[in-house]
Each structure stands twice: as C-alpha cells, then as structure tokens.
C-alpha cells in the first residue's frame, strides 16, 4: 500500500481518536456531575468549548516559544497516537505502527510535556514555572513504574513492537497481559492515575493552589490547541494501555472492533475517574513519594517474576 493512502487513513484515525477523546471528556464531566448530584453539562460541551476558545477575536502572545509550546504539545499527542495500532489487523486504524516501537511512544509521551514546559515558561506568569516544575517532577516519578512494567512486557514477549505484543495476546482472554503478568498491569495502572492527572494526582492544574498551572497564560487559540491535544492524547494513552495490557481490539468487522476499543478504553478510563472523584489532592512531594514507593516495588517484582519464574 502506498504512503499517500496510509497518510489519508492516519488522518481519518486521528480525527476519530480526537472526537472520541473529547466525547470521553464530556462523559467524564457528566459522571462527576452525577457524583455531585447535579445534572451536568451536555456531552458535547468540550466541542463547543474548543469552538468558543477559537472564536476569540484577539489573542496575546509572549514570544516565539509561546507559539511553539502548544504546537509541541500537539506534536507529542500526535506522535504518541500515530505509532500505536488502534485496532489490530485493521488497515485504516493501524496508523504507522509498522515503524517505531514502544520506546518511541514513551518518548513522545514525554516530548509533549517538555515542549509545553518551554512554551509556558515564556508566559512569564510565576504560576506556570511552578506548575511545570511540579508536572515534570511528577511525570518522571510516574514514568518509573510505567517503564518497569514495560520492561516486564519486553522480557515477557521478547519484543518492543506494539503490534507483536497485541498479536501475542490474541486468541483467548487468558492471553491478556492482565492475566499473564498481573503485577506489571497493576504498576502500570497506578502510573496511569498520574498520567491522567485526576486527583489525588492533579497537582499540576491545582486550581486552589496554582490556578491552573502551566497553561495559565494560554488564551484563545493556544488554549484550543491544548484542548484538542487533550482529547487526542487522552485517547492515545488509553489505546496504548488497551494494547499493552488488555489484549487490544481485534475483529473482522471494523465497527465491532471499534466498539470493542470504545468499551475497553472507557473501562480503563473509569478506573482513574472513580479514584479521582473520591479523593482530595496530594501535596507534590507526597504524590512523588507515593509513585516511588509501592508502584515501583510492584514493577520490580513483576520483572523478577517474568525473568526468573
């Protein structure tokens, strides 16, 4: 298949993923509202928000990096997404998974944050550097258990290629990493809590402490880019976790496969949402200590288990 059709397919899948991520955000707002006993905003509210932020007539900038920050963030989201096979064996949704592997994806997860750090630092508001410091520090801590569990996978499947990892989990539900290597899954799911930045790990955008952290100076279109990326990146993370630990989504019929993907990612996301609805926020140092304690130990245990037993 030539590269143009592939790019075309990639664009389609990016749009699907972004729309899905934003809808997921709307659903999550609804769920929070129900926990609060409210009716809650409509599910399509995130789309209107993006339109509204784009519809600003004026927008101020603080220099070149301020422009590039959201762009880097979106590039990180795109990079993360484009090297993950969304649906195993599908032509349209396999993106560029033949090239690149798990390490590249992990690098892209980091990349967006770093670009954002540069851009937000240019804003000059004292709260954004504080938020960046918190964000990067927390990220390097929750990357530890995630990296450990990825190493466990690499040892288990003797590869870092996501497609192969998904392929290895096909057949029966018992082939999922969830059942073949549960410790690695536990470690990774805990670090997912940090990745999704719901409380208790919402120390980056803590409105009562550093309103709202890095993007505090981002206005109109900059903010809209960030929101778009939140949709894309959110779904990319969930798809990655689905592929690595929950057997991916594979079916002869593309729509059934999409349905499987939606159900699985939704359930994965609900985990962090329910935790987030029930807990107050950690102090930064508390959250970092947390990630470096039990999740790290569990990750190391999973490696030992895979390697020697």
């Amino acid at each position: 298949m030539n590269i143009t059709t592939k790019i075309l397919y990639a664009i389609i899948s990016v749009f699907v993923a972004t729309a899905y991520g934003l809808t997921l955000g709307g659903i999550v707002r609804k769920i929070y509202a129900r926990v609060h006993g409210r009716y809650g905003p409509p599910v399509w509210q995130p789309f209107i928000d993006i339109l509204q932020t784009h519809a600003k007539r004026v927008s101020i900038s603080h220099g070149y990096m301020f422009y590039l920050g959201p762009v880097f963030r979106l590039a990180g989201g795109l990079g993360t997404y484009l090297f993950i096979p969304v649906i195993f064996g599908s032509v349209v949704f396999s993106n560029f998974s033949m090239a690149g592997d798990l390490l590249l994806v992990m690098y892209f997860i980091f990349f967006g944050q770093l670009g954002m750090a540069l851009g937000a630092g240019e804003g000059g508001h004292p709260y954004s550097p504080i938020g960046i410091a918190r964000g990067l520090a927390q990220m390097s801590t929750f990357e530890v258990p995630f990296a450990l569990s990825v190493m466990a996978l690499a040892i288990q499947y003797n590869t870092l290629n996501i497609t192969t990892i998904v392929a290895a989990q096909q057949g029966s539900i018992l082939n999922w990493t969830l059942f073949t290597n549960p410790l690695a899954v536990i470690a990774a799911m805990i670090s997912l809590l940090g990745m999704n930045m719901h409380s208790p790990f919402s120390i980056v955008l803590a409105p009562q402490e550093i309103p709202i952290g890095p993007p505090i100076e981002m206005n109109s279109s900059f903010l809209a880019t960030l929101q778009t990326n939140r949709g894309l990146f959110g779904s990319a993370k969930l798809v990655l976790f689905m592929n690595l630990y929950f057997g991916g989504a594979a079916h002869a019929n593309i729509f059934v496969a999409l349905a499987i993907m939606v159900v699985k990612t939704f359930l994965i996301y609900m985990f962090s949402v329910f935790v987030g609805a029930a807990f107050p926020r950690f102090r930064p140092e508390q959250s970092m200590r947390f990630f470096l304690k039990w999740p790290t130990l569990i990750g190391i245990l999973s490696i030992i288990l895979v390697a020697y037993f």
């Binding site: 509202a33 009716y39 209107i48 509204q52 932020t53 519809a55 007539r57 101020i60």
Partner: protein
C-alpha cells in the same frame, strides 16, 4: 455625551503610562486598544452561537454577590447545564460577574482583570449597588455605578439577587450574544479615554500601565 469627539481627536495618540516609572515604561506596551470588526455575517452568527453556549466565568468574587455563585454551581441550580463554567484566570474567561458593590481598591483590580480578558468579553453586574450604589450610595469607598468604569451588558437587580435571577440574567446574556448585541469590547476601545478618565478619577494612586492587556 462628549465621548465621540474625545476619541476622534486623539485616535493616533500613544498611551502615556504616567503611572509607571521611566525604566518601567519600556516594559509595557503603550498601544491603545483597537475595535475589532466582526467577521462576515454567517460565520459571526455561528461563532456567536458558540460563545453563547459556553460561557466561562472569571472566578473573581468581587463582592458579596459571590456568595450566591456557589449555590449556582451546586446541585440545586446547576449552571453547568447551560455551559457556564468557572475559569480561574482572566486570560481564558469570557464573562466577568461583578458581585455587588466595588470598592476603590477592588475597582482597580476589576479594571486590570477586565483588560486582561481576551475579547469578546461580557460583563454581568449583580446587585443594586452596582446600578446606583444601592444602600452604599453615600459610602466614601464604594463606587456608585459600574458602567462608568467598564461596559456592562446585563444588570441583575436585587440585594442580593437570587440564583434564579442570575440564571435569568445569563439566559438574557445568551440571547443578546446570539443577536450580536454584546460588543462591550469594542465599546471600551472606542470610548477608551472616557473610561480611563473616569477610572483615574477614583483610583488616585494609578501605578499600572494605562492599558494592561
């Protein structure tokens, strides 16, 4: 009303920034705000719909009216249903809810936050004290009518206004936005000198840039 000819005379003039010291003046812009033309009819109509359907309040409780915003966010009168959400920073907010009387110390911050909001921006003024001073009409420290300092789109009368009244006010604001009537940003830019004169009349120690976007 002599607003018009004032700003006809000095349209090209740069801002003086007298409040700042010499070396600080270079740090701040001295550009005047300029009115922004709306886009073509149909696109603007669509964008107005989007603006009206997602209103982001600036989380700045300037007066006692802020106490009724909290019930408005909670289960009884759930404002999130209407796409209204609080936003902690003026850069991202689009609606400024003036919660009641504004003391001189607060009007300084109100002006600053209002100018930092990115237009189109809308203002809802709560309470009788923003309309004509209310029961503080003779107070030496609270301004009497807010619309001499920033343009106001909707007044919600009462002391204090009930949450239902606020929701009605938001509803009216939405209708106005969709009709394209809420142009406070451009009004502020056109009558800039008049507003500035009023603001500097009450804010005696003016130590900030004349227009801090």
């Amino acid at each position: 009303m002599n607003k018009k000819n004032i700003n006809n005379i000095e349209k090209e003039m740069k801002l003086a920034n007298e409040g700042l010291s010499e070396k600080e003046r270079t740090l701040f812009s001295d550009a005047r705000p300029t009115p922004v033309k709306p886009l073509n009819k149909y696109l603007e109509k669509f964008l107005n719909w989007a603006r009206a359907e997602s209103l982001w309040i600036l989380a700045f409780g300037t007066g006692c009216g802020a106490v009724e915003l909290r019930p408005l966010m909670t289960a009884r009168f759930d404002m999130f249903r209407y796409g209204i959400a609080p936003r902690p920073t003026p850069r991202q907010a689009s609606v400024f809810v003036i919660g009641g009387y504004a003391s001189i110390k607060t009007i300084k911050r109100i002006v600053r936050s209002y100018e930092q909001m990115q237009g189109p921006k809308f203002v809802i003024a709560l309470g009788s004290c923003t309309i004509n001073g209310g029961m503080y009409y003779d107070s030496y420290y609270t301004i009497n009518r807010i619309d001499h300092y920033i343009p106001v789109d909707i007044y919600v009368a009462g002391c204090m206004p009930r949450p239902e009244a606020l929701i009605a006010g938001f509803d009216k604001l939405k209708k106005q936005i969709k009709a394209g009537k809420c142009d406070g940003m451009n009004i502020y830019a056109e009558n800039f000198d008049w507003y500035k004169a009023n603001q500097k009349k009450v804010i005696k120690d003016w130590n900030m840039p004349d227009y801090n976007w």
